[in-house]
């Protein structure tokens, strides 16, 4: 029953399999089809008992760090805002195996893009670290 985080990106990650323009340049009908597909994935995963949560993130971001004693927090947009990695959203699933997480991610990646063609978008799959099991050997 491990949990996995599936990540979508605005940019970054491996070389796109088939480059596509940003979503704000798509035909509105294609956007609607894309979102309907993702809603359907959520319904399907709830139905299979594997859905945990999901959120889309806006592209705006700030980096912030502790500024030191009596100093204000330091805030920046990051060194290379146009080239760095930018997460667009995440979904968490609770599945029986890593293979099943890959299967779900691949299905998401088949989502329709411009013209209704499959997007082939790279989806990052990350295992959630589980708390240590309360039985220890040694």
């Amino acid at each position: 029953m491990p949990k996995y985080l599936l990540l979508k990106r605005y940019r970054g990650g491996p070389e796109p399999h088939r480059p596509f323009p940003p979503m704000d340049q798509w035909d509105p009908k294609d956007v609607e089809a894309h979102l309907a597909f993702l809603r359907h994935v959520t319904e399907m995963l709830t139905e299979t008992g594997e859905y945990v949560d999901e959120r889309a993130l806006t592209p705006a971001r700030s980096f912030v760090r502790y500024g030191g004693e009596d100093a204000a927090p330091v805030v920046t947009d990051g060194p290379h805002p146009e080239t760095s990695d930018l997460v667009a959203g995440w979904m968490m699933v609770d599945v029986d195996s890593y293979e099943r997480a890959l299967e779900i991610a691949a299905h998401i990646s088949s989502e329709p893009g411009p013209g209704g063609e499959p997007l082939h978008e790279w989806i990052e799959v990350r295992a959630v670290m589980e708390p240590g099991a309360p039985i220890e050997s040694a």
Binding site: L45, Y51, D94, D96, P134, I135, A138
Partner: protein
């Protein structure tokens, strides 16, 4: 959570009634799926109303309300029929049924059907045998209630139409209880306590020594939980735990259960994995410090554990590492490291390999190399 009293309601006692009432409904010919749903509704109703209006005969109350729900469900299926009001009178006490142990075993075999996925087996067991609500199970596994509800109903759909006359697979039941235990001492619902309660019920229902071995293993591990985390919530390794925090009563019970399990074995039936792991845990529980544990005997138990797998390095890296650490204690650092190195190539064993190397090197007084490991 488990067995806790809130507002004068003994939830533990209420939940213990669930498998008994459910088994009776199913044995009387009700469909498992529908009966389990009806009883879940009755349970939620009981949690709501009993604190104010405790019933005279709790078991009869649960059975009567569940039966009424079943009738209602059938009625709403036959949509046109006029609803007939039923008085909410105190039902007559139920006549005596099968011994409770048989009910538990019967239901565990239903819920731990080998065709279901482990996640479904655990969820269904906690609901139908443990008497937890869907919400509580969802909380324990950090998933939404809707997801858990679907997991339960899919599992039950998969069971529909199957007959439960033949005995099920006890090994699967034991694995489900083990998974339940290991799923949680950190969640919002204490699954370790719940697993112990179910394992205890199981040992009343079967003489299988591995069931007692599993109960002993859980008790002996649970006894050490108070020493397992430091104030910052970090895991404290066994050799550094404050043993005065260990629960002595639980250890005594675990040792007693283990002894009865080991006494039941013969040459033809060597101990299985739970008895072996419990035996190792008991040897640690018995020692005033990690150094003073009976390490030669621990090696002997690990030999048995490793021998259970055809390819231990791949199938049971934890056993190989446990053995390496024991070897390190008895035969010294070099021998222990050699044992641990068997795991070096295995993907799943890699973090364990590092951890064991670190442990062995630190014990040998080489903190620099230990930190590197």
């Amino acid at each position: 959570m488990s067995g806790a009293e809130s507002d004068g309601l003994d939830e533990g006692a209420l939940r213990a009634l669930v498998p008994r009432v459910l088994a009776r409904l199913v044995r009387s010919g009700e469909d498992f799926d529908a009966a389990e749903d009806a009883l879940q509704e009755a349970l939620i109703e009981a949690l709501r109303t009993w604190p104010e209006h405790p019933p005279r005969d709790p078991r009869a109350w649960l059975a009567a309300v569940a039966r009424r729900r079943l009738v209602d469900a059938r009625r709403s299926e036959a949509a046109r029929r006029r609803r007939e009001e039923q008085a909410l009178a105190e039902p007559a006490p139920e006549p005596g049924a099968e011994p409770p142990g048989d009910d538990t075993l019967f239901l565990l075999f239903c819920c731990c059907h080998p065709d279901l996925s482990p996640a479904s087996q655990v969820a269904l067991t906690l609901r139908a045998v443990g008497g937890l609500t869907t919400r509580e199970i969802a909380d324990a596994f950090y998933v939404p209630e809707a997801t858990m509800a679907q997991r339960v109903s899919r599992a039950k759909r998969a069971l529909r139409g199957r007959r439960f006359e033949r005995p099920g697979d006890l090994a699967v039941v034991l694995r489900v209880l083990y998974l339940t235990y290991t799923a949680g001492d950190t969640g919002r619902v204490d699954l370790t306590g719940e697993a112990i309660r179910l394992a205890r019920q199981l040992t009343l229902a079967t003489d299988e020594p591995e069931a007692r071995g599993l109960l002993a293993l859980m008790l002996l591990s649970h006894a050490r939980l108070p020493a397992r985390y430091d104030e910052a919530g970090r895991i404290v390794p066994l050799d550094r735990q404050d043993r005065s925090l260990w629960d002595e009563r639980e250890i005594a019970e675990g040792v007693r259960v283990l002894q009865s399990a080991l006494a039941a074995q013969t040459d033809e039936r060597p101990p299985g994995r739970y008895r072996i792991e419990a035996a190792v845990a008991a040897l640690h529980a018995d020692a005033p410090s990690a150094e003073e544990a009976d390490w030669p005997q621990i090696i002997a138990w690990y030999d048995e554990l490793v021998a259970l797998s055809a390819d231990p390095v791949r199938e049971d890296p934890a056993a190989v590492l446990g053995r390496a650490i024991a070897v390190g204690h008895v035969l010294g650092l070099e021998a222990g490291l050699r044992e641990a190195d068997r795991l070096r190539g295995g993907l799943g064993g890699r973090h364990r390999w590092h951890a064991a190397r670190g442990y062995l090197l630190e014990r040998a007084g080489d903190p620099g190399a230990a930190a590197e490991a």
